[in-house]
Protein backbone atom coordinates (compact mmCIF):
# COMPACT_ATOMS: atom_id res chain seq x y z
CA UNK A 1 0.00 0.00 0.00
CA UNK A 2 2.72 2.43 1.02
CA UNK A 3 4.72 1.87 -2.15
CA UNK A 4 1.63 2.51 -4.28
CA UNK A 5 1.07 5.84 -2.63
CA UNK A 6 4.67 6.89 -3.06
CA UNK A 7 4.31 6.57 -6.83
CA UNK A 8 1.28 8.77 -6.92
CA UNK A 9 1.54 12.51 -7.44
CA UNK A 10 0.02 14.47 -4.58
CA UNK A 11 -3.55 15.09 -5.71
CA UNK A 12 -5.43 18.31 -5.02
CA UNK A 13 -7.71 17.90 -2.07
CA UNK A 14 -11.40 17.43 -2.77
CA UNK A 15 -13.03 18.85 0.34
CA UNK A 16 -15.43 20.90 -1.66
CA UNK A 17 -19.00 19.64 -1.81
CA UNK A 18 -21.65 20.81 0.58
CA UNK A 19 -21.38 17.49 2.39
CA UNK A 20 -17.68 17.98 2.88
CA UNK A 21 -18.11 21.58 3.84
CA UNK A 22 -20.70 20.58 6.38
CA UNK A 23 -18.22 18.25 7.98
CA UNK A 24 -15.51 20.85 7.73
CA UNK A 25 -17.57 23.92 8.47
CA UNK A 26 -15.89 26.26 10.94
CA UNK A 27 -16.59 24.86 14.37
CA UNK A 28 -18.40 27.10 16.77
CA UNK A 29 -16.44 27.35 19.96
CA UNK A 30 -13.73 25.00 18.72
CA UNK A 31 -10.87 26.61 20.62
CA UNK A 32 -8.60 23.84 21.81
CA UNK A 33 -11.03 21.07 20.88
CA UNK A 34 -8.68 18.97 18.85
CA UNK A 35 -10.76 15.83 19.41
CA UNK A 36 -13.73 17.43 17.68
CA UNK A 37 -11.59 18.52 14.75
CA UNK A 38 -10.08 15.03 14.52
CA UNK A 39 -13.54 13.46 14.50
CA UNK A 40 -14.79 15.75 11.74
CA UNK A 41 -11.77 15.09 9.55
CA UNK A 42 -11.98 11.38 10.29
CA UNK A 43 -15.61 11.40 9.15
CA UNK A 44 -14.69 13.09 5.87
CA UNK A 45 -12.07 10.39 5.28
CA UNK A 46 -14.45 7.57 6.15
CA UNK A 47 -17.20 9.01 3.94
CA UNK A 48 -14.73 8.76 1.06
CA UNK A 49 -14.81 12.52 0.47
CA UNK A 50 -11.06 12.44 0.67
CA UNK A 51 -9.49 9.51 -1.13
CA UNK A 52 -6.64 7.28 -0.12
CA UNK A 53 -3.36 9.00 -0.91
CA UNK A 54 -4.86 12.46 -1.25
CA UNK A 55 -2.92 15.34 0.27
CA UNK A 56 -4.66 17.60 2.77
CA UNK A 57 -4.28 21.38 2.40
CA UNK A 58 -1.29 22.79 4.27
CA UNK A 59 -1.74 23.35 7.98
CA UNK A 60 -2.27 27.10 7.82
CA UNK A 61 -4.95 26.80 5.12
CA UNK A 62 -6.75 23.84 6.69
CA UNK A 63 -6.72 25.53 10.11
CA UNK A 64 -8.29 28.60 8.52
CA UNK A 65 -10.94 26.51 6.74
CA UNK A 66 -11.86 24.87 10.00
CA UNK A 67 -11.64 28.06 12.00
CA UNK A 68 -9.19 26.66 14.54
CA UNK A 69 -5.64 27.53 15.51
CA UNK A 70 -2.76 25.68 13.88
CA UNK A 71 -1.87 24.31 17.31
CA UNK A 72 -5.31 22.70 17.63
CA UNK A 73 -5.10 21.38 14.09
CA UNK A 74 -1.68 19.83 14.70
CA UNK A 75 -3.05 18.08 17.76
CA UNK A 76 -6.01 16.79 15.72
CA UNK A 77 -3.72 15.52 12.96
CA UNK A 78 -1.64 13.72 15.57
CA UNK A 79 -4.81 11.93 16.74
CA UNK A 80 -5.65 10.95 13.17
CA UNK A 81 -2.09 9.67 12.71
CA UNK A 82 -2.56 7.50 15.77
CA UNK A 83 -5.78 6.13 14.27
CA UNK A 84 -3.85 5.45 11.06
CA UNK A 85 -6.12 7.72 8.98
CA UNK A 86 -3.36 10.10 7.87
CA UNK A 87 0.38 9.96 7.46
CA UNK A 88 2.84 12.82 7.25
CA UNK A 89 5.82 13.00 4.94
CA UNK A 90 8.58 15.60 4.97
CA UNK A 91 10.32 17.25 2.07
CA UNK A 92 9.35 19.04 -1.11
CA UNK A 93 6.65 16.53 -2.01
CA UNK A 94 5.69 16.29 1.64
CA UNK A 95 2.52 17.04 3.51
CA UNK A 96 -0.23 15.18 5.31
CA UNK A 97 -1.78 12.36 3.30
CA UNK A 98 -4.98 10.42 3.76
CA UNK A 99 -4.81 6.69 4.37
CA UNK A 100 -7.85 4.50 3.88
CA UNK A 101 -8.53 2.12 6.79
CA UNK A 102 -6.48 -1.02 6.12
CA UNK A 103 -8.83 -3.64 7.50
CA UNK A 104 -12.32 -3.19 6.03
CA UNK A 105 -13.95 -4.81 9.06
CA UNK A 106 -12.05 -2.65 11.57
CA UNK A 107 -14.52 0.27 11.56
CA UNK A 108 -17.29 -2.06 12.69
CA UNK A 109 -15.38 -2.77 15.89
CA UNK A 110 -15.58 0.90 16.85
CA UNK A 111 -19.31 0.37 17.46
CA UNK A 112 -20.98 -1.72 20.11
CA UNK A 113 -24.13 -3.62 19.10
CA UNK A 114 -26.14 -1.13 21.12
CA UNK A 115 -24.56 1.77 19.20
CA UNK A 116 -25.28 0.12 15.87
CA UNK A 117 -28.90 -0.26 16.87
CA UNK A 118 -29.03 3.40 17.93
CA UNK A 119 -27.41 4.54 14.69
CA UNK A 120 -30.04 2.50 12.84
CA UNK A 121 -32.84 4.21 14.79
CA UNK A 122 -31.46 7.63 13.93
CA UNK A 123 -31.01 6.76 10.25
CA UNK A 124 -34.52 5.32 10.04
CA UNK A 125 -35.94 8.55 11.48
CA UNK A 126 -34.09 10.73 8.98
CA UNK A 127 -34.42 8.50 5.90
CA UNK A 128 -38.05 7.66 6.63
CA UNK A 129 -39.07 11.28 6.98
CA UNK A 130 -37.03 12.33 3.95
CA UNK A 131 -38.73 9.61 1.84
CA UNK A 132 -42.22 10.58 3.02
CA UNK A 133 -41.67 14.29 2.32
CA UNK A 134 -40.04 13.54 -1.04
CA UNK A 135 -43.17 11.62 -2.06
CA UNK A 136 -45.29 14.61 -1.07
CA UNK A 137 -43.08 17.32 -2.55
CA UNK A 138 -40.90 16.06 -5.38
CA UNK A 139 -41.49 17.41 -8.87
CA UNK A 140 -41.09 15.15 -11.93
CA UNK A 141 -37.60 16.52 -12.59
CA UNK A 142 -36.46 15.43 -9.12
CA UNK A 143 -38.02 12.00 -9.53
CA UNK A 144 -36.12 11.73 -12.79
CA UNK A 145 -32.85 12.45 -10.97
CA UNK A 146 -33.66 9.75 -8.42
CA UNK A 147 -34.22 7.25 -11.24
CA UNK A 148 -30.84 8.20 -12.68
CA UNK A 149 -29.17 7.81 -9.31
CA UNK A 150 -30.73 4.35 -8.88
CA UNK A 151 -29.33 3.50 -12.32
CA UNK A 152 -25.89 4.58 -11.18
CA UNK A 153 -26.25 2.33 -8.14
CA UNK A 154 -27.24 -0.58 -10.38
CA UNK A 155 -24.12 -0.06 -12.49
CA UNK A 156 -21.78 0.09 -9.45
CA UNK A 157 -19.38 -2.82 -9.31
CA UNK A 158 -16.99 -2.10 -6.45
CA UNK A 159 -17.82 -1.56 -2.78
CA UNK A 160 -16.68 2.07 -2.91
CA UNK A 161 -18.70 2.83 -6.06
CA UNK A 162 -21.73 1.26 -4.44
CA UNK A 163 -21.25 3.22 -1.25
CA UNK A 164 -20.82 6.48 -3.13
CA UNK A 165 -23.85 5.91 -5.36
CA UNK A 166 -26.07 4.92 -2.45
CA UNK A 167 -24.86 7.88 -0.36
CA UNK A 168 -25.68 10.20 -3.25
CA UNK A 169 -29.07 8.51 -3.57
CA UNK A 170 -30.04 9.12 0.06
CA UNK A 171 -28.88 12.75 -0.11
CA UNK A 172 -30.91 13.27 -3.30
CA UNK A 173 -34.02 11.86 -1.61
CA UNK A 174 -33.55 14.39 1.20
CA UNK A 175 -33.04 17.12 -1.41
CA UNK A 176 -36.27 16.03 -3.13
CA UNK A 177 -37.90 16.44 0.29
CA UNK A 178 -36.87 20.13 -0.03
CA UNK A 179 -34.98 20.04 3.24
CA UNK A 180 -31.37 21.26 3.53
CA UNK A 181 -31.30 20.02 7.12
CA UNK A 182 -32.33 16.48 6.21
CA UNK A 183 -29.82 16.50 3.34
CA UNK A 184 -27.08 17.61 5.74
CA UNK A 185 -28.11 15.03 8.31
CA UNK A 186 -28.06 12.23 5.74
CA UNK A 187 -24.54 13.31 4.75
CA UNK A 188 -23.46 13.26 8.39
CA UNK A 189 -25.02 9.89 9.12
CA UNK A 190 -23.52 8.40 5.99
CA UNK A 191 -20.14 9.69 7.11
CA UNK A 192 -20.51 7.72 10.32
CA UNK A 193 -21.86 4.60 8.71
CA UNK A 194 -20.20 4.87 5.29
CA UNK A 195 -17.24 2.57 5.76
CA UNK A 196 -19.49 -0.01 7.39
CA UNK A 197 -21.74 -0.15 4.34
CA UNK A 198 -18.63 -0.49 2.19
CA UNK A 199 -18.08 -3.96 3.62
CA UNK A 200 -18.36 -6.62 0.95
CA UNK A 201 -21.93 -7.65 0.22
CA UNK A 202 -22.79 -11.28 0.00
CA UNK A 203 -24.06 -12.81 -3.25
CA UNK A 204 -27.38 -11.38 -4.36
CA UNK A 205 -27.32 -8.54 -1.83
CA UNK A 206 -26.44 -5.88 -4.38
CA UNK A 207 -29.34 -6.84 -6.63
CA UNK A 208 -31.62 -6.73 -3.60
CA UNK A 209 -30.33 -3.28 -2.63
CA UNK A 210 -30.96 -1.97 -6.14
CA UNK A 211 -34.46 -3.44 -6.20
CA UNK A 212 -35.29 -1.77 -2.88
CA UNK A 213 -34.08 1.61 -4.17
CA UNK A 214 -36.16 1.17 -7.35
CA UNK A 215 -39.26 0.47 -5.25
CA UNK A 216 -38.60 3.58 -3.19
CA UNK A 217 -38.29 5.74 -6.31
CA UNK A 218 -41.55 4.26 -7.62
CA UNK A 219 -43.31 5.10 -4.35
CA UNK A 220 -41.98 8.66 -4.48
CA UNK A 221 -42.95 8.99 -8.17
CA UNK A 222 -46.50 7.84 -7.47
CA UNK A 223 -46.66 10.13 -4.42
CA UNK A 224 -47.34 7.30 -1.97
CA UNK A 225 -45.88 9.01 1.07
CA UNK A 226 -46.53 6.32 3.70
CA UNK A 227 -45.25 3.56 1.46
CA UNK A 228 -42.10 5.57 0.73
CA UNK A 229 -41.49 6.08 4.44
CA UNK A 230 -42.00 2.38 5.20
CA UNK A 231 -39.66 1.30 2.40
CA UNK A 232 -36.92 3.69 3.53
CA UNK A 233 -37.26 2.58 7.15
CA UNK A 234 -37.20 -1.08 6.20
CA UNK A 235 -34.09 -0.53 4.10
CA UNK A 236 -32.25 0.91 7.10
CA UNK A 237 -33.58 -1.88 9.34
CA UNK A 238 -32.25 -4.58 7.01
CA UNK A 239 -28.86 -2.86 6.79
CA UNK A 240 -28.70 -2.44 10.55
CA UNK A 241 -29.54 -6.08 11.09
CA UNK A 242 -26.77 -7.10 8.71
CA UNK A 243 -24.24 -4.93 10.58
CA UNK A 244 -25.34 -6.26 13.97
CA UNK A 245 -25.01 -9.83 12.70
CA UNK A 246 -21.43 -9.11 11.60
CA UNK A 247 -20.63 -7.37 14.88
CA UNK A 248 -21.91 -10.37 16.84
CA UNK A 249 -19.72 -12.61 14.69
CA UNK A 250 -16.71 -10.44 15.58
CA UNK A 251 -17.43 -11.04 19.28
CA UNK A 252 -17.41 -14.75 18.50
CA UNK A 253 -14.00 -14.65 16.86
CA UNK A 254 -12.43 -12.27 19.40
Amino acid sequence: MVSLRQHREPAPVGLTTAAARTLLAPLDDAGGRADLVARRLGEAIRLGLVLDGERLPNEARLAEQLGVSTVTLREALAMLREQGLVSTRRGRRGGTFVRAPADPAAPLLRFSVQELRDLGDHRAAISGTAARLAAERALPEEVHRLHEQAQRLRAATTASERRRADTQFTIEVAAAAQSPRLAREEARLRAQVGDLLGLALEAGEHALLVRERDRLVDAIASRKAERARRLAERHVAVETERLIRRRLRAYGSA
Binding site: T16, A18, L49, L51, R137, E141, Q178, S179
Partner: protein
Protein backbone atom coordinates in the same frame (compact mmCIF):
# COMPACT_ATOMS: atom_id res chain seq x y z
CA UNK B 1 -59.98 20.13 -4.19
CA UNK B 2 -61.49 23.58 -4.09
CA UNK B 3 -61.02 25.86 -7.04
CA UNK B 4 -57.97 28.02 -6.62
CA UNK B 5 -57.70 31.58 -7.75
CA UNK B 6 -54.39 32.27 -9.39
CA UNK B 7 -52.79 35.51 -10.45
CA UNK B 8 -49.33 36.53 -11.70
CA UNK B 9 -47.02 37.43 -8.82
CA UNK B 10 -46.21 40.78 -10.46
CA UNK B 11 -49.71 42.04 -9.67
CA UNK B 12 -49.01 42.14 -5.95
CA UNK B 13 -45.24 41.79 -5.63
CA UNK B 14 -44.13 44.28 -8.28
CA UNK B 15 -41.20 45.48 -6.17
CA UNK B 16 -39.38 42.18 -5.72
CA UNK B 17 -40.37 40.82 -9.14
CA UNK B 18 -38.98 44.05 -10.62
CA UNK B 19 -35.68 43.54 -8.84
CA UNK B 20 -35.47 39.96 -10.10
CA UNK B 21 -35.94 41.34 -13.61
CA UNK B 22 -33.06 43.75 -12.93
CA UNK B 23 -30.90 40.82 -11.82
CA UNK B 24 -31.72 39.04 -15.08
CA UNK B 25 -30.79 42.21 -16.99
CA UNK B 26 -27.48 42.42 -15.11
CA UNK B 27 -26.82 38.74 -15.86
CA UNK B 28 -27.52 39.29 -19.56
CA UNK B 29 -25.03 42.19 -19.53
CA UNK B 30 -22.44 40.09 -17.70
CA UNK B 31 -23.01 37.27 -20.19
CA UNK B 32 -22.55 39.68 -23.10
CA UNK B 33 -19.18 40.79 -21.70
CA UNK B 34 -18.18 37.15 -21.38
CA UNK B 35 -19.19 36.54 -25.02
CA UNK B 36 -17.07 39.55 -26.11
CA UNK B 37 -14.15 38.14 -24.22
CA UNK B 38 -14.48 34.80 -25.99
CA UNK B 39 -14.65 36.55 -29.34
CA UNK B 40 -11.61 38.76 -28.64
CA UNK B 41 -9.37 36.03 -27.30
CA UNK B 42 -10.41 33.13 -29.51
CA UNK B 43 -9.93 30.65 -26.72
CA UNK B 44 -9.99 32.35 -23.32
CA UNK B 45 -8.21 31.15 -20.19
CA UNK B 46 -9.33 31.26 -16.56
CA UNK B 47 -7.37 34.47 -16.22
CA UNK B 48 -9.46 36.12 -18.93
CA UNK B 49 -12.67 35.05 -17.19
CA UNK B 50 -11.23 36.39 -13.93
CA UNK B 51 -11.19 39.85 -15.51
CA UNK B 52 -14.98 39.83 -15.12
CA UNK B 53 -14.69 39.75 -11.31
CA UNK B 54 -15.31 43.48 -10.79
CA UNK B 55 -18.57 43.15 -12.75
CA UNK B 56 -19.59 40.13 -10.66
CA UNK B 57 -18.80 42.00 -7.42
CA UNK B 58 -20.83 44.99 -8.66
CA UNK B 59 -23.81 42.72 -9.30
CA UNK B 60 -23.50 41.20 -5.80
CA UNK B 61 -23.26 44.67 -4.23
CA UNK B 62 -26.14 46.15 -6.22
CA UNK B 63 -28.51 43.35 -5.19
CA UNK B 64 -27.05 42.35 -1.86
CA UNK B 65 -30.44 42.00 -0.21
CA UNK B 66 -31.49 39.27 -2.65
CA UNK B 67 -28.42 37.79 -4.32
CA UNK B 68 -25.95 35.68 -2.33
CA UNK B 69 -23.80 34.32 -5.14
CA UNK B 70 -23.15 35.06 -8.80
CA UNK B 71 -20.78 34.33 -11.59
CA UNK B 72 -19.95 32.85 -14.96
CA UNK B 73 -20.04 29.12 -15.59
CA UNK B 74 -18.27 27.99 -18.75
CA UNK B 75 -19.32 25.33 -21.24
CA UNK B 76 -17.13 22.21 -21.03
CA UNK B 77 -14.12 22.45 -23.33
CA UNK B 78 -14.38 26.20 -23.86
CA UNK B 79 -11.41 27.41 -21.81
CA UNK B 80 -7.83 26.74 -22.80
CA UNK B 81 -6.65 25.79 -19.31
CA UNK B 82 -9.64 24.13 -17.60
CA UNK B 83 -12.15 21.66 -19.08
CA UNK B 84 -14.85 23.07 -16.79
CA UNK B 85 -14.90 26.25 -14.77
CA UNK B 86 -17.01 28.29 -12.40
CA UNK B 87 -15.98 31.89 -11.87
CA UNK B 88 -18.38 32.01 -8.94
CA UNK B 89 -18.42 34.32 -5.96
CA UNK B 90 -20.64 34.45 -2.95
CA UNK B 91 -21.04 36.93 -0.20
CA UNK B 92 -20.22 35.67 3.25
CA UNK B 93 -20.97 36.91 6.72
CA UNK B 94 -17.38 38.17 6.76
CA UNK B 95 -18.31 40.73 4.13
CA UNK B 96 -15.97 40.34 1.16
CA UNK B 97 -17.04 38.01 -1.67
CA UNK B 98 -15.46 34.58 -1.51
CA UNK B 99 -14.73 32.22 -4.39
CA UNK B 100 -16.78 29.04 -4.43
CA UNK B 101 -14.58 25.97 -4.59
CA UNK B 102 -16.06 22.84 -6.08
CA UNK B 103 -14.42 19.73 -7.40
CA UNK B 104 -14.47 19.75 -11.19
CA UNK B 105 -12.45 16.56 -11.61
CA UNK B 106 -14.82 13.96 -13.18
CA UNK B 107 -12.93 11.16 -11.44
CA UNK B 108 -13.33 12.59 -7.93
CA UNK B 109 -15.92 11.26 -5.48
CA UNK B 110 -17.37 14.73 -5.02
CA UNK B 111 -17.24 15.74 -8.71
CA UNK B 112 -19.67 18.57 -9.31
CA UNK B 113 -21.23 18.07 -12.75
CA UNK B 114 -23.00 21.38 -13.25
CA UNK B 115 -23.99 20.51 -16.82
CA UNK B 116 -26.84 18.35 -15.46
CA UNK B 117 -28.30 21.05 -13.22
CA UNK B 118 -31.62 22.67 -14.06
CA UNK B 119 -29.98 26.12 -14.15
CA UNK B 120 -27.42 24.99 -16.74
CA UNK B 121 -29.14 22.27 -18.77
CA UNK B 122 -32.48 24.05 -19.22
CA UNK B 123 -31.14 27.34 -20.66
CA UNK B 124 -28.72 25.31 -22.75
CA UNK B 125 -31.68 23.49 -24.30
CA UNK B 126 -34.16 26.36 -24.57
CA UNK B 127 -31.67 29.23 -25.08
CA UNK B 128 -33.88 31.20 -22.70
CA UNK B 129 -33.21 32.61 -19.24
CA UNK B 130 -34.22 30.23 -16.45
CA UNK B 131 -35.37 30.64 -12.88
CA UNK B 132 -34.50 27.24 -11.37
CA UNK B 133 -35.79 26.06 -8.03
CA UNK B 134 -36.44 26.46 -5.18
CA UNK B 135 -34.13 23.49 -4.65
CA UNK B 136 -31.76 22.14 -2.01
CA UNK B 137 -28.35 23.08 -3.33
CA UNK B 138 -26.65 20.15 -1.61
CA UNK B 139 -23.83 20.03 -4.13
CA UNK B 140 -22.65 23.59 -3.58
CA UNK B 141 -23.92 25.80 -0.82
CA UNK B 142 -26.33 23.54 1.08
CA UNK B 143 -28.93 26.27 1.02
CA UNK B 144 -32.53 26.30 -0.10
CA UNK B 145 -32.15 28.50 -3.13
CA UNK B 146 -33.35 29.74 -6.47
CA UNK B 147 -30.88 30.14 -9.31
CA UNK B 148 -31.42 32.74 -12.02
CA UNK B 149 -29.43 31.89 -15.11
CA UNK B 150 -28.96 33.51 -18.45
CA UNK B 151 -27.45 31.49 -21.31
CA UNK B 152 -24.54 32.85 -23.30
CA UNK B 153 -24.32 31.82 -26.95
CA UNK B 154 -22.14 32.78 -29.89
CA UNK B 155 -23.99 31.79 -33.03
CA UNK B 156 -25.05 28.22 -32.41
CA UNK B 157 -22.41 27.55 -29.76
CA UNK B 158 -23.19 27.48 -26.05
CA UNK B 159 -20.45 29.36 -24.18
CA UNK B 160 -21.90 28.99 -20.70
CA UNK B 161 -24.26 30.82 -18.39
CA UNK B 162 -24.21 33.95 -16.26
CA UNK B 163 -26.10 33.08 -13.10
CA UNK B 164 -27.04 34.25 -9.61
CA UNK B 165 -28.28 32.52 -6.47
CA UNK B 166 -31.15 33.91 -4.42
CA UNK B 167 -31.98 32.34 -1.07
CA UNK B 168 -35.61 31.46 -0.43
CA UNK B 169 -35.25 33.12 3.00
CA UNK B 170 -34.26 36.37 1.30
CA UNK B 171 -37.30 36.25 -0.99
CA UNK B 172 -39.47 35.51 2.04
CA UNK B 173 -38.09 38.57 3.85
CA UNK B 174 -39.01 40.73 0.91
CA UNK B 175 -42.50 39.40 0.12
CA UNK B 176 -44.08 38.33 3.40
CA UNK B 177 -44.60 41.86 4.77
CA UNK B 178 -46.86 42.39 1.73
CA UNK B 179 -48.50 38.96 1.77
CA UNK B 180 -49.38 38.91 5.48
CA UNK B 181 -51.15 42.25 5.00
CA UNK B 182 -53.55 40.61 2.52
CA UNK B 183 -56.96 39.51 3.81
CA UNK B 184 -56.73 36.09 2.17
CA UNK B 185 -54.49 33.01 2.38
CA UNK B 186 -52.07 32.95 -0.56
CA UNK B 187 -48.95 31.11 -1.56
CA UNK B 188 -46.22 32.40 -3.83
CA UNK B 189 -45.25 29.53 -6.14
CA UNK B 190 -42.81 29.01 -8.96
CA UNK B 191 -44.06 28.14 -12.44
CA UNK B 192 -44.18 24.43 -11.53
CA UNK B 193 -46.44 25.04 -8.55
CA UNK B 194 -43.77 24.66 -5.88
CA UNK B 195 -44.44 26.91 -2.90
CA UNK B 196 -41.71 29.52 -2.31
CA UNK B 197 -43.48 31.06 0.67
CA UNK B 198 -47.00 31.62 1.94
CA UNK B 199 -48.86 33.73 4.45
CA UNK B 200 -50.49 30.73 6.10
CA UNK B 201 -49.00 27.93 8.21
CA UNK B 202 -51.27 25.47 6.39
CA UNK B 203 -49.15 25.76 3.25
CA UNK B 204 -45.39 25.58 3.63
CA UNK B 205 -42.30 26.24 1.55
CA UNK B 206 -41.37 23.34 -0.72
CA UNK B 207 -44.90 21.97 -0.87
CA UNK B 208 -46.60 21.35 -4.22
CA UNK B 209 -49.72 23.29 -5.10
CA UNK B 210 -50.75 21.65 -8.32
CA UNK B 211 -53.98 23.31 -9.29
CA UNK B 212 -53.72 26.41 -11.38
CA UNK B 213 -50.00 26.21 -11.94
CA UNK B 214 -50.11 24.48 -15.31
CA UNK B 215 -48.13 26.07 -18.08
CA UNK B 216 -47.20 29.17 -16.14
CA UNK B 217 -44.17 31.12 -17.26
CA UNK B 218 -43.53 33.07 -14.10
CA UNK B 219 -44.16 33.04 -10.39
CA UNK B 220 -47.77 32.91 -9.26
CA UNK B 221 -49.89 33.86 -6.31
CA UNK B 222 -52.25 31.00 -5.54
CA UNK B 223 -55.16 31.47 -3.18
CA UNK B 224 -55.09 28.48 -0.85
CA UNK B 225 -58.22 28.38 1.23
Amino acid sequence: MTRQRVQPADDVLGDVMGELEQVFAALAALGARFADLVEQTGQPSREHVASLRPAIFDLLAAHRELVTGAGIVTAPGLLADAPRWLEWWWTTTRGAPEALRVNLDPGAPDFYDYTTTDWYATPERTRLARMAGPFVDFACTNEYAITLSSPVHAGGEMLGVAAADVLVSSVEGRVLPTLVALDRAVALTNADGRVITSNTPAVVTGQRVDAGAQGASSWLLVETS
